[in-house]
Amino acid sequence: MIYKIYMKIKEIAKLLDATFITGEQLAESEIDFAFASDLMSDVLTLKQADRILLITGLCNIQTIRTAEMANVEVVLFVRNKNVTNEMIEIAEEENMVLLQCKYSMFRAVGMLYVQGLQPVY
């Protein structure tokens, strides 16, 4: 059986009790794949795919730049990291959705995985 699993961004946010920092207007958009890493060089090795969610604990300007170069449309910061205005500015310019949740990386990833969200690799 071949079937396609995706999640709406708003479903992801609801599941993880996450808040939108930017891009709430894109809440109805869908995500096909997820990838979790704090290593930006690792994120930059992802092959081109649409609708990727990055789950990360690294919260700085390089996270946003990396998402921009890697065509990652949604970034979820775990453990309530502090997102700066500079990061928000670039994310808004790039139409990027930034989410923030209080859960740990392990918990957030596990909750999404059991929902059937597909890994990139």
Partner: protein
């Protein structure tokens, strides 16, 4: 088309501004998005290297109907052993660079994987010049 961007020493906050500008230009030219990604991922890793491992430099971009050629020339310590630096996992990155999410020794191998042509010229205590080309 020819563009130039300056990379300033220690300017970690602006790493990626040149790659970002190149991405916008290629988008306007309607280049395929997978191809744009290959270009900007390679340029971004090189841009980070010029800040992380050297003292800044200049990025020269040439675009014609067939390809994009990007040359990143830095003032820096040079690379003593290029073959070693190209190996995945080799890194001399500082803790500060690792805090930014780099420094795993994956940059140069990933640049090589993404471009059609790569040339590295380097001189100890002078600097490094990385030239990369991606065909459209």
């Amino acid at each position: 088309m020819h563009f130039e961007y300056t990379i300033i020493e220690n300017d970690f906050a602006n790493a990626g501004t040149a790659s970002s500008a190149i991405k916008k230009t290629l988008k306007q030219l309607n280049i395929d998005s997978a191809k744009i990604k290959r270009v900007v991922v390679a340029v971004y890793e090189a841009e980070v290297n010029a800040i992380a491992h050297a003292y800044g430099g200049t990025i020269y971009v040439d675009i014609d109907g067939e390809q994009i050629v990007v040359r990143i020339a830095d003032k820096g310590p040079g690379i003593p052993d290029v073959a070693l630096a190209m190996q995945e996992g080799y890194s001399t990155a500082s803790p500060k660079v690792r805090e930014m999410g780099f420094g795993a020794g994956m940059g140069l191998p990933n640049i090589k994987n993404n471009v059609d042509k790569l040339d590295i010229k380097t001189e100890i205590n002078v600097g490094t010049e990385i030239t990369m080309a991606v065909k459209f």
